[in-house]
Protein backbone atom coordinates (compact mmCIF):
# COMPACT_ATOMS: atom_id res chain seq x y z
CA UNK A 1 0.00 0.00 0.00
CA UNK A 2 1.18 3.45 -0.88
CA UNK A 3 2.06 5.30 2.28
CA UNK A 4 1.88 8.68 0.75
CA UNK A 5 0.56 11.94 2.10
CA UNK A 6 -2.62 11.53 0.07
CA UNK A 7 -3.61 8.25 1.71
CA UNK A 8 -2.80 9.57 5.18
CA UNK A 9 -5.05 12.57 4.65
CA UNK A 10 -7.85 10.33 3.39
CA UNK A 11 -7.72 8.09 6.45
CA UNK A 12 -7.39 11.06 8.82
CA UNK A 13 -10.40 12.73 7.25
CA UNK A 14 -12.53 9.59 7.43
CA UNK A 15 -11.54 9.05 11.06
CA UNK A 16 -12.57 12.59 11.91
CA UNK A 17 -15.95 12.24 10.22
CA UNK A 18 -16.53 8.90 11.90
CA UNK A 19 -15.68 10.24 15.33
CA UNK A 20 -17.98 13.26 14.86
CA UNK A 21 -20.93 11.11 13.74
CA UNK A 22 -20.32 8.66 16.57
CA UNK A 23 -20.17 11.36 19.25
CA UNK A 24 -23.31 13.05 17.92
CA UNK A 25 -25.08 9.71 18.01
CA UNK A 26 -24.07 9.10 21.64
CA UNK A 27 -25.17 12.61 22.52
CA UNK A 28 -28.56 12.11 20.87
CA UNK A 29 -29.12 8.88 22.80
CA UNK A 30 -28.08 10.59 26.02
CA UNK A 31 -30.50 13.49 25.45
CA UNK A 32 -33.36 11.15 24.71
CA UNK A 33 -33.06 9.28 27.99
CA UNK A 34 -33.01 12.29 30.32
CA UNK A 35 -34.80 15.59 30.53
CA UNK A 36 -32.89 18.83 30.10
CA UNK A 37 -30.90 19.60 33.23
CA UNK A 38 -32.27 22.28 35.51
CA UNK A 39 -30.30 24.95 37.28
CA UNK A 40 -32.26 25.66 40.44
CA UNK A 41 -31.55 28.98 42.10
CA UNK A 42 -32.90 31.18 44.86
CA UNK A 43 -33.09 34.96 44.59
CA UNK A 44 -33.34 36.99 47.80
CA UNK A 45 -34.48 40.55 47.32
CA UNK A 46 -32.70 42.53 50.05
CA UNK A 47 -34.76 45.59 49.20
CA UNK A 48 -37.78 43.77 50.61
CA UNK A 49 -36.16 41.37 53.06
CA UNK A 50 -34.65 43.15 56.04
CA UNK A 51 -33.95 39.94 57.89
CA UNK A 52 -36.09 41.07 60.79
CA UNK A 53 -38.85 38.44 60.72
CA UNK A 54 -38.23 34.77 61.51
CA UNK A 55 -40.92 33.40 59.17
CA UNK A 56 -38.73 31.61 56.64
CA UNK A 57 -36.31 30.31 59.25
CA UNK A 58 -39.10 28.97 61.43
CA UNK A 59 -40.86 27.38 58.47
CA UNK A 60 -37.68 25.70 57.22
CA UNK A 61 -36.61 24.39 60.57
CA UNK A 62 -40.07 23.14 61.46
CA UNK A 63 -40.37 21.45 58.06
CA UNK A 64 -37.08 19.61 58.42
CA UNK A 65 -37.04 18.87 62.15
CA UNK A 66 -34.11 21.18 62.81
CA UNK A 67 -33.55 21.98 66.48
CA UNK A 68 -33.99 25.70 66.29
CA UNK A 69 -31.62 28.14 67.86
CA UNK A 70 -34.18 30.93 67.90
CA UNK A 71 -36.73 28.60 69.38
CA UNK A 72 -37.08 28.95 73.17
CA UNK A 73 -37.38 25.18 73.38
CA UNK A 74 -33.96 24.71 71.86
CA UNK A 75 -31.24 24.05 74.37
CA UNK A 76 -27.96 22.73 72.99
CA UNK A 77 -27.00 19.96 75.40
CA UNK A 78 -23.30 20.77 75.11
CA UNK A 79 -21.38 23.66 76.57
CA UNK A 80 -20.79 25.25 73.18
CA UNK A 81 -23.73 27.14 71.73
CA UNK A 82 -22.10 27.06 68.29
CA UNK A 83 -22.97 23.39 68.20
CA UNK A 84 -26.48 24.28 67.09
CA UNK A 85 -27.89 23.22 63.72
CA UNK A 86 -28.82 25.76 61.07
CA UNK A 87 -30.19 25.42 57.54
CA UNK A 88 -31.10 29.03 56.94
CA UNK A 89 -30.03 31.81 59.27
CA UNK A 90 -29.09 35.48 59.39
CA UNK A 91 -25.62 36.92 59.05
CA UNK A 92 -24.45 40.53 58.81
CA UNK A 93 -24.07 42.25 55.46
CA UNK A 94 -20.34 42.62 56.00
CA UNK A 95 -20.05 39.03 57.13
CA UNK A 96 -21.68 37.72 53.99
CA UNK A 97 -20.12 40.11 51.45
CA UNK A 98 -16.86 40.98 53.21
CA UNK A 99 -14.61 41.11 50.15
CA UNK A 100 -17.19 43.10 48.18
CA UNK A 101 -17.29 45.97 50.70
CA UNK A 102 -15.24 49.14 50.67
CA UNK A 103 -15.13 52.04 53.05
CA UNK A 104 -17.83 53.98 51.20
CA UNK A 105 -20.26 51.06 50.83
CA UNK A 106 -22.23 52.48 53.68
CA UNK A 107 -22.92 50.73 56.91
CA UNK A 108 -25.73 48.38 56.25
CA UNK A 109 -26.93 46.97 59.51
CA UNK A 110 -29.84 44.78 58.43
CA UNK A 111 -29.34 41.10 59.06
CA UNK A 112 -28.95 39.14 55.85
CA UNK A 113 -30.45 35.74 55.12
CA UNK A 114 -27.85 33.13 54.27
CA UNK A 115 -28.12 29.44 53.42
CA UNK A 116 -26.38 26.77 51.36
CA UNK A 117 -25.52 28.25 47.97
CA UNK A 118 -25.88 24.97 46.05
CA UNK A 119 -22.75 26.01 44.15
CA UNK A 120 -22.19 25.23 40.49
CA UNK A 121 -18.79 23.80 41.43
CA UNK A 122 -19.16 22.82 45.09
CA UNK A 123 -15.97 22.23 47.06
CA UNK A 124 -17.81 20.26 49.76
CA UNK A 125 -18.72 17.39 47.45
CA UNK A 126 -15.14 16.99 46.22
CA UNK A 127 -13.71 16.26 49.64
CA UNK A 128 -16.32 13.75 50.79
CA UNK A 129 -14.52 10.42 51.23
CA UNK A 130 -17.66 8.28 51.08
CA UNK A 131 -19.60 9.94 48.27
CA UNK A 132 -22.30 10.87 50.77
CA UNK A 133 -22.72 14.36 49.34
CA UNK A 134 -22.94 15.24 45.67
CA UNK A 135 -24.44 17.67 43.22
CA UNK A 136 -27.49 16.24 41.52
CA UNK A 137 -26.94 16.40 37.75
CA UNK A 138 -30.68 16.75 37.05
CA UNK A 139 -31.31 19.97 38.96
CA UNK A 140 -28.06 21.06 40.59
CA UNK A 141 -29.13 20.53 44.20
CA UNK A 142 -26.20 19.73 46.48
CA UNK A 143 -27.60 16.92 48.58
CA UNK A 144 -26.49 14.63 51.39
CA UNK A 145 -27.12 10.91 51.81
CA UNK A 146 -27.38 10.64 55.58
CA UNK A 147 -27.03 6.86 55.34
CA UNK A 148 -23.52 7.21 53.95
CA UNK A 149 -22.27 10.19 55.96
CA UNK A 150 -19.62 9.11 58.44
CA UNK A 151 -19.37 12.51 60.11
CA UNK A 152 -15.74 13.27 59.19
CA UNK A 153 -16.65 16.96 58.65
CA UNK A 154 -14.30 17.42 55.68
CA UNK A 155 -17.20 19.08 53.85
CA UNK A 156 -17.65 21.56 56.69
CA UNK A 157 -14.01 22.53 56.38
CA UNK A 158 -14.31 22.82 52.61
CA UNK A 159 -17.46 24.95 52.54
CA UNK A 160 -16.47 28.63 52.42
CA UNK A 161 -19.94 29.73 53.52
CA UNK A 162 -20.30 27.77 56.75
CA UNK A 163 -23.48 26.23 55.42
CA UNK A 164 -23.05 22.85 57.01
CA UNK A 165 -23.78 21.85 60.59
CA UNK A 166 -22.67 18.82 62.54
CA UNK A 167 -24.87 16.83 64.88
CA UNK A 168 -22.79 16.89 68.03
CA UNK A 169 -25.82 15.64 69.94
CA UNK A 170 -28.86 13.53 69.25
CA UNK A 171 -31.18 16.11 67.64
CA UNK A 172 -34.27 14.46 69.11
CA UNK A 173 -33.16 15.62 72.54
CA UNK A 174 -33.52 19.25 71.43
CA UNK A 175 -36.70 18.87 69.41
CA UNK A 176 -39.93 19.40 71.23
CA UNK A 177 -42.28 18.60 68.36
CA UNK A 178 -41.23 16.18 65.65
CA UNK A 179 -42.80 16.32 62.22
CA UNK A 180 -43.29 12.72 61.09
CA UNK A 181 -43.10 13.34 57.33
CA UNK A 182 -39.38 14.12 57.32
CA UNK A 183 -36.70 12.12 59.14
CA UNK A 184 -34.65 13.70 61.87
CA UNK A 185 -30.92 13.27 61.73
CA UNK A 186 -28.84 11.14 64.05
CA UNK A 187 -25.79 11.73 66.16
CA UNK A 188 -22.64 12.35 64.10
CA UNK A 189 -23.88 13.32 60.65
CA UNK A 190 -23.56 16.61 58.77
CA UNK A 191 -26.65 18.40 57.51
CA UNK A 192 -27.59 21.52 55.59
CA UNK A 193 -30.27 23.08 53.39
CA UNK A 194 -31.49 20.66 50.71
CA UNK A 195 -33.51 23.21 48.67
CA UNK A 196 -36.57 21.29 49.91
CA UNK A 197 -35.86 18.40 47.57
CA UNK A 198 -38.65 16.34 49.16
CA UNK A 199 -41.18 19.14 48.62
CA UNK A 200 -40.05 19.72 45.03
CA UNK A 201 -40.76 16.05 44.34
CA UNK A 202 -44.34 16.65 45.46
CA UNK A 203 -44.66 19.76 43.29
CA UNK A 204 -44.36 22.21 46.17
CA UNK A 205 -41.86 25.04 46.37
CA UNK A 206 -39.28 25.48 49.12
CA UNK A 207 -40.76 26.06 52.56
CA UNK A 208 -38.88 29.34 53.10
CA UNK A 209 -40.17 30.85 49.86
CA UNK A 210 -43.72 29.86 50.70
CA UNK A 211 -43.46 31.29 54.20
CA UNK A 212 -42.10 34.70 53.15
CA UNK A 213 -44.87 37.22 53.65
CA UNK A 214 -42.92 40.01 51.92
CA UNK A 215 -42.47 38.07 48.66
CA UNK A 216 -38.75 38.71 48.91
CA UNK A 217 -37.67 35.22 47.87
CA UNK A 218 -37.93 33.80 44.37
CA UNK A 219 -37.13 30.22 43.49
CA UNK A 220 -36.86 28.55 40.12
CA UNK A 221 -34.86 27.18 37.24
CA UNK A 222 -32.37 29.67 35.77
CA UNK A 223 -32.36 27.74 32.48
CA UNK A 224 -36.06 28.60 32.15
CA UNK A 225 -36.52 32.25 31.28
CA UNK A 226 -40.05 32.30 32.66
CA UNK A 227 -39.23 30.91 36.10
CA UNK A 228 -39.70 33.26 39.09
CA UNK A 229 -35.96 33.26 39.79
CA UNK A 230 -35.03 34.22 36.23
CA UNK A 231 -37.65 36.97 36.18
CA UNK A 232 -36.49 38.35 39.52
CA UNK A 233 -32.96 38.80 38.16
CA UNK A 234 -33.96 40.80 35.09
CA UNK A 235 -33.05 44.49 35.17
CA UNK A 236 -31.72 44.55 38.72
CA UNK A 237 -28.26 44.52 40.26
CA UNK A 238 -27.59 41.23 42.00
CA UNK A 239 -24.53 39.75 43.68
CA UNK A 240 -23.51 36.38 45.09
CA UNK A 241 -21.38 35.52 48.08
CA UNK A 242 -17.61 35.19 47.59
CA UNK A 243 -17.62 35.08 43.76
CA UNK A 244 -13.81 35.28 43.81
CA UNK A 245 -13.62 31.67 45.00
CA UNK A 246 -15.14 30.36 41.77
CA UNK A 247 -17.71 28.14 43.43
CA UNK A 248 -20.56 29.65 41.41
CA UNK A 249 -23.23 30.17 44.08
CA UNK A 250 -26.85 29.72 43.02
CA UNK A 251 -28.24 32.00 45.72
CA UNK A 252 -28.47 35.54 44.41
CA UNK A 253 -28.98 38.75 46.37
CA UNK A 254 -30.74 41.68 44.73
CA UNK A 255 -29.41 44.96 46.08
Amino acid sequence: MDRGKRNFLKIAGLTGVGAYVGLKGVEAIGNKSGKAAKKLALVIDTRKCKGDCPDCITACHREHNVPEKHNPNFKPPGPNENQGIKWIWTSTFGGAFGEQMHERTGRRKDPLLVLCNHCADPPCTRVCPTGATWKRPSDGIVTIDMHRCIGCRFCMAACPYGSRSFNFHDPRRSLKAVKPGFPTRTLGVVEKCNFCVERLAEGLGPACVGACTKKAMHFGDLNDKNSPASKALVGVHSITRKPNLGTGPEVFYVL
Binding site: V178, P180, G181, P183, T186
Partner: protein
Amino acid sequence: MADDKDIEKQEETYEPKNYEYKQTEHARSDMPLIVLGLLVFVALMLGATLANRGIGKFGSKPVLDLPKDEKFCVRDVKFMRENHMKLLNTWRDQVVRDGVRTEKIPRRDATGKILKDASGKTVYQTIGRSLTKTCLRCHDNHESFCQRCHEYTGVVKHGGTLKCFQCHIMPNPKTKAGR
Protein backbone atom coordinates in the same frame (compact mmCIF):
# COMPACT_ATOMS: atom_id res chain seq x y z
CA MET B 1 31.29 -46.73 70.83
CA ALA B 2 33.32 -43.89 72.19
CA ASP B 3 30.35 -41.59 71.59
CA ASP B 4 27.99 -43.77 73.63
CA LYS B 5 30.33 -43.65 76.58
CA ASP B 6 30.43 -39.89 76.41
CA ILE B 7 26.63 -39.69 76.52
CA GLU B 8 26.56 -41.99 79.53
CA LYS B 9 29.01 -39.76 81.29
CA GLN B 10 26.90 -36.74 80.51
CA GLU B 11 23.82 -38.40 81.83
CA GLU B 12 25.62 -39.13 84.99
CA THR B 13 26.73 -35.57 85.38
CA TYR B 14 23.23 -34.22 84.83
CA GLU B 15 21.57 -36.40 87.37
CA PRO B 16 18.36 -34.70 88.53
CA LYS B 17 18.00 -33.76 92.12
CA ASN B 18 15.99 -36.03 94.21
CA TYR B 19 12.92 -34.03 95.20
CA GLU B 20 10.79 -35.22 97.97
CA TYR B 21 7.11 -35.34 97.35
CA LYS B 22 5.31 -35.19 100.66
CA GLN B 23 1.94 -36.71 100.80
CA THR B 24 -0.62 -35.10 103.10
CA GLU B 25 -1.61 -37.50 105.75
CA HIS B 26 -5.38 -36.84 105.61
CA ALA B 27 -5.96 -36.37 101.84
CA ARG B 28 -9.35 -34.67 101.38
CA SER B 29 -11.49 -36.03 98.62
CA ASP B 30 -12.85 -33.45 96.08
CA MET B 31 -15.83 -35.64 95.36
CA PRO B 32 -18.41 -33.81 97.55
CA LEU B 33 -17.46 -30.47 95.97
CA ILE B 34 -17.78 -31.88 92.48
CA VAL B 35 -21.17 -33.38 93.25
CA LEU B 36 -22.33 -30.10 94.81
CA GLY B 37 -21.19 -28.12 91.76
CA LEU B 38 -22.95 -30.52 89.43
CA LEU B 39 -26.13 -30.25 91.47
CA VAL B 40 -26.04 -26.44 91.35
CA PHE B 41 -25.47 -26.57 87.60
CA VAL B 42 -28.32 -28.98 86.98
CA ALA B 43 -30.61 -26.98 89.27
CA LEU B 44 -29.85 -23.74 87.41
CA MET B 45 -30.39 -25.28 84.00
CA LEU B 46 -33.57 -27.05 85.08
CA GLY B 47 -34.77 -23.91 86.82
CA ALA B 48 -34.40 -21.83 83.67
CA THR B 49 -36.26 -24.42 81.66
CA LEU B 50 -38.99 -24.81 84.26
CA ALA B 51 -39.36 -21.06 84.70
CA ASN B 52 -40.02 -20.69 80.97
CA ARG B 53 -42.29 -23.71 80.84
CA GLY B 54 -45.54 -21.81 80.79
CA ILE B 55 -44.42 -19.00 78.51
CA GLY B 56 -44.44 -20.55 75.11
CA LYS B 57 -44.20 -23.73 73.20
CA PHE B 58 -41.10 -24.73 71.36
CA GLY B 59 -41.19 -23.10 67.95
CA SER B 60 -43.82 -20.52 68.92
CA LYS B 61 -44.10 -17.39 66.79
CA PRO B 62 -44.69 -13.83 67.94
CA VAL B 63 -48.21 -12.50 67.51
CA LEU B 64 -47.99 -9.50 65.23
CA ASP B 65 -50.44 -6.65 64.95
CA LEU B 66 -51.34 -6.56 61.26
CA PRO B 67 -52.99 -3.59 59.57
CA LYS B 68 -56.78 -3.79 59.47
CA ASP B 69 -57.55 -1.50 56.54
CA GLU B 70 -55.06 -2.85 54.02
CA LYS B 71 -54.97 -6.49 53.03
CA PHE B 72 -52.07 -6.54 50.61
CA CYS B 73 -48.53 -5.32 50.92
CA VAL B 74 -46.39 -3.85 48.15
CA ARG B 75 -44.89 -7.34 47.74
CA ASP B 76 -46.14 -10.73 48.87
CA VAL B 77 -45.80 -11.77 52.49
CA LYS B 78 -43.06 -14.34 51.96
CA PHE B 79 -40.92 -11.89 50.04
CA MET B 80 -41.42 -9.17 52.65
CA ARG B 81 -40.66 -11.50 55.53
CA GLU B 82 -37.36 -12.54 54.00
CA ASN B 83 -36.30 -9.50 51.99
CA HIS B 84 -37.86 -6.34 53.39
CA MET B 85 -34.46 -4.88 54.20
CA LYS B 86 -33.24 -5.59 50.66
CA LEU B 87 -36.33 -3.81 49.33
CA LEU B 88 -35.88 -0.89 51.71
CA ASN B 89 -32.20 -0.54 50.84
CA THR B 90 -33.05 -0.54 47.13
CA TRP B 91 -35.76 2.04 47.68
CA ARG B 92 -33.35 4.15 49.73
CA ASP B 93 -30.75 4.17 46.95
CA GLN B 94 -33.32 4.88 44.27
CA VAL B 95 -34.90 7.75 46.19
CA VAL B 96 -31.84 9.36 47.73
CA ARG B 97 -29.27 8.80 45.00
CA ASP B 98 -31.37 8.68 41.81
CA GLY B 99 -34.38 10.76 42.87
CA VAL B 100 -36.88 8.14 41.70
CA ARG B 101 -39.51 8.32 44.40
CA THR B 102 -42.38 6.24 43.04
CA GLU B 103 -42.91 2.84 41.46
CA LYS B 104 -45.78 0.91 39.92
CA ILE B 105 -47.15 -2.30 41.40
CA PRO B 106 -50.03 -4.45 40.18
CA ARG B 107 -53.40 -3.56 41.63
CA ARG B 108 -55.24 -6.39 43.42
CA ASP B 109 -58.87 -7.04 44.18
CA ALA B 110 -60.25 -8.11 47.57
CA THR B 111 -59.25 -11.73 47.04
CA GLY B 112 -55.69 -10.88 46.11
CA LYS B 113 -56.09 -11.54 42.40
CA ILE B 114 -54.16 -9.18 40.14
CA LEU B 115 -56.61 -6.94 38.29
CA LYS B 116 -56.60 -6.90 34.50
CA ASP B 117 -58.31 -4.48 32.16
CA ALA B 118 -60.53 -5.40 29.19
CA SER B 119 -57.59 -6.07 26.88
CA GLY B 120 -55.97 -8.39 29.42
CA LYS B 121 -53.25 -6.02 30.54
CA THR B 122 -52.33 -5.78 34.18
CA VAL B 123 -53.63 -2.70 35.98
CA TYR B 124 -50.93 -0.89 37.91
CA GLN B 125 -51.01 1.54 40.78
CA THR B 126 -48.32 4.03 41.74
CA ILE B 127 -46.86 3.88 45.23
CA GLY B 128 -44.23 6.01 46.94
CA ARG B 129 -40.92 4.42 47.83
CA SER B 130 -41.00 5.57 51.40
CA LEU B 131 -40.56 3.84 54.74
CA THR B 132 -42.51 6.44 56.68
CA LYS B 133 -45.15 7.34 54.15
CA THR B 134 -45.80 3.93 52.60
CA CYS B 135 -44.73 1.09 54.92
CA LEU B 136 -45.47 2.72 58.24
CA ARG B 137 -48.71 4.26 57.02
CA CYS B 138 -50.28 0.79 57.27
CA HIS B 139 -47.92 -0.78 59.81
CA ASP B 140 -48.58 2.02 62.22
CA ASN B 141 -48.19 0.04 65.43
CA HIS B 142 -44.46 0.01 65.89
CA GLU B 143 -44.35 -1.81 69.23
CA SER B 144 -46.52 -4.74 68.21
CA PHE B 145 -45.22 -5.14 64.66
CA CYS B 146 -41.66 -3.99 63.86
CA GLN B 147 -40.31 -4.14 67.37
CA ARG B 148 -41.98 -7.40 68.42
CA CYS B 149 -40.60 -9.36 65.48
CA HIS B 150 -37.19 -7.71 65.62
CA GLU B 151 -36.89 -8.65 69.28
CA TYR B 152 -38.06 -12.20 68.60
CA THR B 153 -35.54 -12.71 65.81
CA GLY B 154 -32.78 -11.02 67.77
CA VAL B 155 -32.31 -8.14 65.34
CA VAL B 156 -32.44 -5.80 68.30
CA LYS B 157 -31.98 -6.62 71.94
CA HIS B 158 -35.02 -6.40 74.15
CA GLY B 159 -36.08 -2.77 74.42
CA GLY B 160 -33.46 -1.66 71.90
CA THR B 161 -34.08 0.58 68.92
CA LEU B 162 -33.34 -0.31 65.35
CA LYS B 163 -31.00 2.18 63.70
CA CYS B 164 -33.60 3.06 61.04
CA PHE B 165 -35.78 4.62 63.69
CA GLN B 166 -33.06 6.86 65.07
CA CYS B 167 -33.88 9.16 62.13
CA HIS B 168 -37.07 7.87 60.53
CA ILE B 169 -39.87 8.82 62.80
CA MET B 170 -41.74 6.03 64.45
CA PRO B 171 -45.44 6.26 63.89
CA ASN B 172 -47.69 6.69 66.84
CA PRO B 173 -50.60 4.25 66.84
CA LYS B 174 -52.94 7.13 67.65
CA THR B 175 -51.79 9.47 64.90
CA LYS B 176 -51.00 8.02 61.49
CA ALA B 177 -47.54 8.84 60.23
CA GLY B 178 -47.00 10.92 57.15
CA ARG B 179 -48.44 14.17 55.95
